[in-house]
């Protein structure tokens, strides 16, 4: 005790901070950083899935150059990102604007939009498989009067990816709406009212008052949903349950491809090398977004 008290205040504060940080930091090191480091290490080996390792240098990386399947998977993921992220953004933002002001039953409406996100992806996959069954599913029955009764939403390559995007939006829109709502709460009413008095229309109020104040929130949403779209559970669990990457590889995302390499082909070394590339791409993308938007206030103090 005496020694503690004798320590300089600075020192004591630092020691306390380290103690507070210890459990989480250690946990993240062991269960996130270490596996990641292992993945980086394994990328230089040929691994057969039965515990045999053979050092192969950069061979796994060279393999990527001629890999058409990888290219196709990257394309699927790219299309998914550039459709899902903006659509989810616009939809959830519009929903947030819609439920921003009080009206009768607002609690139920907000809950309703969030409800899909409460259900697990396993169940979401099941639900849509059931609703989208060829010919007899509820959606086919609904569309039958318009002559679209035998459209196979999950079985047609040109439709499957779009269907997957829309299901993802449905699943995640409530969550993003909530984030936007939180951001909107900080837009001072007075500012908007003042703008209205000055004769600003709703579009102008949105463009010059709300939008600038929402930029950090928007940044957070975009970064978050990009990461989710590339490597998140929605890029894996949902595809896995819905289509297994089919039909004709139309929904084979990069994460699914990595999974296939690891577990169908037992090419764990190649899978690890792919992992490092995907994470590097992500770092690059988020860094770029960070730079372009001059940061999302991650480091305010």
């Amino acid at each position: 005790m005496a020694r503690l008290q004798g320590m300089s205040r600075k020192r004591r504060e630092a020691l306390a901070a380290y103690a507070f940080l210890a459990p989480d930091t250690l946990g993240l090191l062991i269960f996130v950083a270490l596996p990641m480091a292992l993945a980086f290490g394994v990328a230089f080996f040929k691994v057969d899935g039965f515990g045999n390792y053979q050092y192969v240098g950069l061979a796994n990386y060279r393999l990527m150059i001629g890999d058409d399947q990888l290219l196709a998977a990257l394309k699927v993921t790219a299309i998914y990102v550039v459709t899902f992220v903006p659509i989810a953004f616009v939809v959830s933002f519009a929903l947030a604007m819609l439920v921003r002001n009080q009206f009768r039953g607002i609690g139920w409406v907000r809950s309703a939009f969030f409800l899909p996100n409460v259900v697990s992806l396993v169940v979401v996959g099941l639900i849509w498989q059931f609703l989208l069954v060829d010919k007899r599913g509820a959606l086919s029955k609904l569309l039958a009067p318009f002559g679209l009764g035998d459209v196979s939403f999950l079985g047609t390559p040109s439709l499957a990816l779009g269907t997957y995007v829309l299901i993802s939006v449905w699943f995640l829109m409530g969550y993003q709406m909530l984030v936007f709502l939180a951001g909107l709460k900080d837009v001072p009413r007075e500012l908007e009212d003042a703008a209205a008095i000055d004769g600003a229309g709703s579009w102008q109020r949105f463009r010059y008052v709300i939008w600038p104040l929402l930029r950090p929130t928007s940044f957070f949403v975009v970064v978050n949903s990009t990461i989710g779209a590339v490597t998140g559970l929605q890029a894996f669990d949902l595809v896995f349950v819905l289509t297994k990457g089919g039909p004709a590889r139309a929904t084979s995302t990069v994460v699914l491809y990595i999974y296939e390499q690891a577990f169908t082909f037992n090419n764990l070394g190649y899978a690890a090398a792919l992992t490092t590339v995907v994470v590097a791409l992500l770092v690059l993308c988020t860094g770029l977004m960070f730079g372009l938007t001059r940061g999302g206030r991650f480091d305010e103090d």
């Binding site: 507070f20 596996p35 039953g105 607002i106």
Partner: protein
């Protein structure tokens, strides 16, 4: 007129959003033969739910999920708030680095590190145990980030009062910060509970013992075993979703407030 219009739109869209879920609930209450009938059911039955609850060890799956989700949530919130407190309120060398390091783990997701994580868990003797389901799921940077943002916004004066009383850092955290963070912890606990209740890939990888199966594994296993019985699969899906919906409805009022106070703006 104007003020009426948008709320009506909101209500209509809300109904469309939940319609798929509602349809599943209705279908789960239909007799097996009518499950694909498009229309209001003519007969209702609880047989499907009853069958799933009695003939399949659903109660066991539910219990396992509850144990895991609640434990992870409690421990995670505790650890995260400690870490967040240090990052937000204390000054120490390496703070920037540690913070960026923690944030950078957000780029790594489970499917990508599944195999190495499994190897680590195996070395730690975590295979096939509650600990294996719980421990690796605790650590996630998202919660630390949200709590830190929240703590940044707590007025410093509150803490300084405790400082004048001669409290150490632990006491300040325990008796000033923690009580103040009750609302945000409450809402985060909703999010954490949902995420863990819905986890699938990790439990699938780490457990072998059927007594350790969690509910999502149970539901997905149904699909293989009762492939032809959509009525039973849907009933299982409904049962798996009930606890999350209950938790959400109970906690939903707090969610928006929490998001706001965490400074996601």
């Amino acid at each position: 007129m104007r003020t009426r219009f948008w709320p009506i739109v909101a209500h209509v869209l809300a109904i469309i959003a939940v319609l798929p879920l509602l349809w599943i609930v209705i279908s789960a209450l239909k007799p097996a033969a009518d499950v694909f009938d498009f229309g209001w059911p003519t007969t209702w039955t609880l047989d499907n739910l009853q069958y799933v609850l009695l003939k399949i060890p659903m109660p066991r799956f539910l219990l396992n999920s509850a144990i895991v989700s609640v434990t992870v949530t409690v421990i995670a919130l505790f650890f995260h708030s400690m870490a967040a407190y240090a990052l937000a309120r204390l000054r120490f060398p390496g703070r920037g680095i540690i913070f960026s390091g923690i944030m950078s783990t957000l780029l790594v997701s489970l499917p990508v590190i599944l195999v190495p994580l499994f190897l680590v868990a195996k070395q730690l003797g975590l295979l096939d145990s509650y600990a294996g389901l719980i421990v690796p799921s605790i650590f996630h940077a998202f919660g630390i980030f949200l709590l830190r943002q929240y703590y940044l916004n707590i007025p410093r004066e509150l803490e300084e009062a405790a400082d004048l009383d001669g409290c150490g850092y632990w006491r300040r955290y325990w008796s000033v910060i923690l009580p103040l963070s009750r609302p945000v912890l409450a809402s985060l606990s909703v999010l954490f509970f949902l995420a863990n209740w819905n986890a699938f890939l990790w439990p699938l990888t780490i457990t072998r013992n059927p007594d350790l199966r969690v509910i999502q594994l149970g539901v997905s296993g149904m699909q293989g075993q009762y492939a032809s019985a959509w009525n039973l699969i849907l009933a299982a899906a409904v049962i798996a979703a009930i606890p999350t919906v209950v938790v959400f409805v109970a906690g939903q009022r707090r969610l928006v407030d929490a998001m706001k106070t965490t400074g996601l703006k």
